[in-house]
Amino acid sequence: MYAYPFSYHRAKSLAEASKLLQQLGDESRVLAGGQSLIPLMKMRLARPSALIDINFVPGLADIQSPNGELRFGALARHADIEVSEAAAAIPILNDCAAGIADVQVRNQGTIGGSLAEADPSGDWGATLLTLETSVQCTGPQGERSIALEEFIKDAYTTVLAHDELVREIIVKRPPKSSGGAYLAFKRSAPVYATVSAAVQLTLDGKDICKDVRIVLGCVGLTAIRAKQAEAELHGKKVDGKTIQRAAEAAREAAEPQSDMRGSADYKRALVAALVKRAIGTAVRRARGERVEAGHEYVGR
């Protein structure tokens, strides 16, 4: 369990980190929380020649909520977001942050690292796709803002250039009468979900769905937006029947593979169950109820 040899560099700013990435070449990598990168290195599945540590860049872990937005510095830890009052205003963010792995991982792992890693089972990707999310990036050419939909291209692949870094994640605050929920089934705490479902919707006064996004995690190369499922709710009254139809449509949208977490058939069944429940929680939250939600685990 030893990584291949690598050199270690500490960046004082993102500009410096970008420059180092350029100088040190293709095999150099950014180190954020290290919760994806270090295990891969120890198992010798990743072999970077150099690590550029951004943990000492000042201000990069800040969480701010200026007008109508939430801004997460790339280094904001899952645990920071879990306890952040600003983030609590958007419950789906808390569902996601509080449910990632275990305390150790949450204390180290970062939101920026998660998105940059683009793990098909990552919790942040699926969650943030239900919101208006943009990724602020810093590179040699300066800054650019990329919509999250464009940012993640494929499994473990983003549009970031080698010498480009995530600086900030900006989430637009949903309008009034909105609610969301992120619900995953995980076998135990420190493992990735088997299936997850993220739902964010806006209601009018009569439970008619004005806007909705439904995203599925772990059942495709990237998180999947279940557009047909959304259509089953859009402009309609959200009730048992429409929820059921949306859940069935989501089942169809999933493209799961069989593995140790479960068979493809079963994962589809889980998609339907989780989407149904997530819609239920989202609706109650949209109506202004406080609903505590936790992931599903084996045994309880």
């Binding site: 135990s188 420190p190 493992v191 140790m260 479960g262 058939d265 079963y266 685990y297």
Partner: protein, 835 residues
């Protein structure tokens, strides 16, 4: 949060020649706790010796393949690499390990590394020894191995076909076969009111996940001609018996040492092949210490798994009341690529042949096969849990099909309290126990009647809620004579443990016993026993844990396995302490000019002492030790035999079983666990959830209730993990699919229900202290959770036929059920239903 309920117990009678039971039975904190929770434990990997080298294994990526070529030249050339070893080279340095099995089993050539072919994924084919672990890891990647893949054998059914052989020299894959038949099975079937036929049942492969993986340091010292081991092997005297002939050194030249061990559960008993390689590596380097610290992936792939067992063609005869009168079945155990501790498992299950039930007529056709999976090791609950699970499935399936409630089914079939000691059809003697009483306590704890009502109401709402009972026996202190049933020539029998109790030269009370605790708290319970014998307190007793050939007591049976410390271990310690007390009394009588009968033991102004009740004169322990060791002019000749260093060997009262009839007493004590679980299967996610869980244990007299409760909690977690999460699965190519924790998902706190805990005491008549071993727990939750699932899903046509159940498997079982799966699994005949 655990809730505890205890039934009243009578005060233990103080055994002769010892003080009153003041400490035994008390929930005192563990002596070893402080060291362990502060990170001050001393584990193998903490040891750093001068000149120490590190070994790394190169392992097969195939489950079954011919080795065409192994090229270590690039690895050997890497700076910092000291030497390499290949299987072919090792073959020239050792003899194959002895095999316990007879006949075809004797033909297996089990070398410590793969020679011509690999037989499981992770099989070691080469090793590199280097100055640092990192260099060793780099070098291992430079070893080039060429394979020619062979078709892997991955199930009992495939193995029995003998189309591909795991070990061609055996001529078959079946390494053991024997029929265990008692009573008159055919007659019972003829007279039965109901006969239930059950299709294939399967007990899955799972393991234990000790926090500390296998670890060892070997030094083959060419000057002393000795091999010194510091390891976490949990049965060192057994390992030495395997290593000595293989390495060609006298058993007295093999020194074993251990100290703190981070969990074992039996899995570390069979790490001796790696011990052999480490010794050979040390010899090759000219006698430098060689350390191996296993990685988690190595542990999951290639240390040891628990036994997998498949049950075929089961027939059950019952009378009109649902009392089981006969069982006839064929069992095939899968021991993986090499037997090693096996085929002992082919008899060990018979310790609990009828489980907790009165069935008299039994025929079990027992088989074991080798496959291309990781070799098995005696995993907690070893071989008995498979049989207990089988019997519990039989009870539940019969109960449900005949419409008898599962609690009633058990009450009608349980061995009764007034039948104890109870002799089973195969001659085992259940020492004591009150299974019906335990069930009653469990029902009270969980609120049985209330749950029954809730269950009925929930069913109406379409929910799947089941209430399951698991009846489990934890047989402890095994009779090695049962090995003769496996192989008439096996050179071991009985059971023994040794201990030394001494007053060291400054009067310290020191106890050693050579046991290898891995969390069982031996230091504490040993100190409690000695404190009572001498009338002092446990903190005044220094207990030396671990095995140490040169320093601590041991016999050829010494190790920590088979739930026996509370009986065999503590009997040895008690015996040694009583001997010490007698010597101290003789010495004190002379020193105090008193009569022995007037002496009392206790703690005085100058520490622990012996005093004359009449004169109030006393001598403290330092004074007594001084008389023997420092200041002994004038000591009368009749005291010259006093050493204050007393060794005692405890022998369990066993006979060699009748090997023809496969009859005899195979274990001394039978602790019991009755668990009850309320399980709900979610109708949408199909996930099983445990709504309530109660465990009731009875391990006779408890030495330390806190330790017992801790063991129950641990066993319960282990079993729930096995039932719902943990599975050593293989794909059809022989790849082990759970080689990391992300895949194996050992149980974590979020998966655990709150436990309701209850305790009863049925003292064993066969141990001096009334105690019974209880550390294994018999995988009680595996039976219990399966029973709960069965209750929840029976009405949907599902038969729980596997010990491992997930949302996924339940989802598929329900699909099969809707296409007529039930009829294939269970068939009922009523030949004489009127009787």
């Amino acid at each position: 949060m655990a809730t505890t309920l205890r039934t009243k117990t009578k005060k233990a009678k103080a055994p002769a020649a010892s003080g009153p039971a003041k400490w035994v039975g008390q929930p005192i904190r563990r002596k070893e706790e402080d060291r362990l929770v502060r990170g001050k434990g001393i584990f193998v990997d903490d040891q750093k010796l001068t000149g120490m080298l590190h070994i790394r294994f190169v392992r097969s990526s195939y489950g079954h393949a011919k080795i065409v070529k192994v090229d270590v030249s690039k690895a050997a050339a890497l700076p910092g690499v000291v030497c390499t070893l290949t299987g072919a080279e090792v073959k020239g340095m050792v003899k194959p390990f002895i095999e316990i099995g007879p006949d075809v089993g004797q033909k297996i050539a089990d070398y410590p590394m793969a020679v011509d072919k690999v037989t499981f994924q992770g099989d070691p084919v080469a090793a590199v020894v280097a100055e640092t672990r990192m260099i060793a890891e780099d070098a291992a990647e430079l070893v080039e191995v060429e394979y020619e893949p062979l078709p892997p054998i991955l199930s009992a059914e495939e193995a029995l076909k003998d189309e591909t052989l795991v070990h061609p020299e055996m001529g078959t894959n079946r390494n053991w076969h024997g029929v265990f038949e008692y009573g008159n099975v055919e007659k019972a079937f003829k007279q039965a009111a109901h006969v239930v036929h059950i299709g294939r049942l399967h007990f899955h492969r799972f393991s234990s996940t000790p926090l500390e993986n296998n670890a060892m340091i070997a030094v083959w010292d060419s000057r002393s001609e000795r091999i010194e081991y510091w390891s976490n092997n949990s049965f060192p005297s057994f390992a030495a018996q395997f290593l000595s002939p293989a390495l060609g050194v006298g058993i007295d030249q093999i020194l074993m040492k251990s100290f703190d061990i981070g969990g074992g559960f039996g899995i570390k008993i069979t790490n001796y092949p790696y011990m052999a390689v480490c010794a050979l590596a040390s010899r090759k380097t000219g006698g430098l210490p060689v350390k191996w610290a296993e990685t988690r992936t190595e542990h999951m792939q290639a240390s040891a798994h628990g036994n997998e067992r498949t049950f075929f063609g089961t027939r059950v005869a019952l009378d009109k009341n649902g009392v089981i009168t006969a069982i006839d079945s064929r069992h095939v155990d899968d021991c993986g690529a090499y037997p090693r501790y096996e085929p002992l498992g082919c008899v060990i299950w018979a310790q609990v042949l009828p489980a907790a039930y009165r069935v008299k007529n039994v025929r079990i056709d027992m088989n074991q096969v080798v496959t291309n999976k990781c070799p098995v090791g005696p995993n907690r609950g070893y071989s008995r849990m498979q049989q207990l699970w089988f019997m519990e499935r039989v009870l539940d399936i019969c109960g449900h099909t005949l419409g008898i409630s599962i609690d009633e089914m058990r009450l009608r079939n349980y061995i009764r309290k007034d039948e104890m000691p109870y002799t089973t059809p195969n001659g085992c003697v259940y020492d004591s126990g009150d299974y019906a009483g335990m069930l009653a306590l469990g029902k009270k704890l969980i609120g049985w009647d209330d749950w029954k009502k809730k269950q009925a109401a929930a069913r109406k709402d379409g929910r799947w809620i089941g209430i399951g009972i698991g009846s489990t026996l934890d047989s402890g202190t095994n009779n090695f004579g049962q090995a003769r049933i496996i192989n008439n020539f096996a050179p071991f029998s009985g059971q023994s443990k040794a201990a030394i109790a001494k007053l060291d030269i400054y009067g310290e009370v020191v106890v050693s016993m050579g046991s290898v605790p891995q969390g069982q708290g031996h230091e504490t319970t040993a100190a409690q026993v000695v404190a009572d014998v001498l009338g002092i307190s446990p903190d005044l007793v220094r207990v030396k844990p671990g095995f140490d050939t040169e320093q601590n007591a041991y016999t050829g049976h010494t190790g920590t396995y088979a739930s026996q410390f509370a009986v065999a271990g503590l009997s040895a310690i008690h015996g040694a302490a009583v001997k010490l007390r007698k010597e101290m009394a003789r010495l004190a009588a002379w020193a105090l000019k008193a009569k022995e009968k007037d002496l009392e033991f206790g703690i005085g102004a100058q520490g622990p002492e012996v005093r004359d009740k009449r004169t109030k004169k006393s001598i403290n322990y330092w004074g007594l030790a001084n008389l023997v060791n420092v200041n002994n002019a004038g000591m009368p000749e009749n005291l010259w035999d006093v050493t204050l260093n007393c060794r005692h060997v405890y022998h369990a009262p066993f006979q060699i079983p009748d090997t023809k009839r496969k009859y005899g007493n195979l274990t001394l004590t039978y602790a019991a666990q009755i668990h009850i679980a309320v399980v709900e299967v979610d109708r949408e996610t199909f996930q099983p959830k445990i709504l309530a869980y109660a465990c009731v244990d009875d391990c006779g007299r408890t030495i330390n209730p806190r330790i017992v409760e801790g063991q129950v909690h641990g066993c319960t977690a282990h079993g729930i993990g096995a039932a719902l999460m943990e599975n050593c699965a293989y794909d059809s190519d022989g790849n082990m699919l759970a080689s990391t924790f992300s895949d194996y998902t050992p149980i974590t706190a979020v998966n655990m229900p709150d436990l309701l805990y209850g305790h009863m005491e049925s003292p064993s008549p066969f141990s001096y202290n009334g105690a019974k071993g209880m550390g294994e727990g018999g995988a009680a939750p595996v039976h219990t959770v399966c029973a709960g699932l069965q209750d929840a899903l029976y009405s949907s046509g599902v038969i729980i036929d596997d010990s491992h159940n997930t949302g996924d498997s339940i989802f598929h079982a329900l699909q099969r059920a809707s296409s007529g799966g039930f009829a294939i699994m269970v068939r009922v005949e009523h030949p004489r239903a009127s009787r």
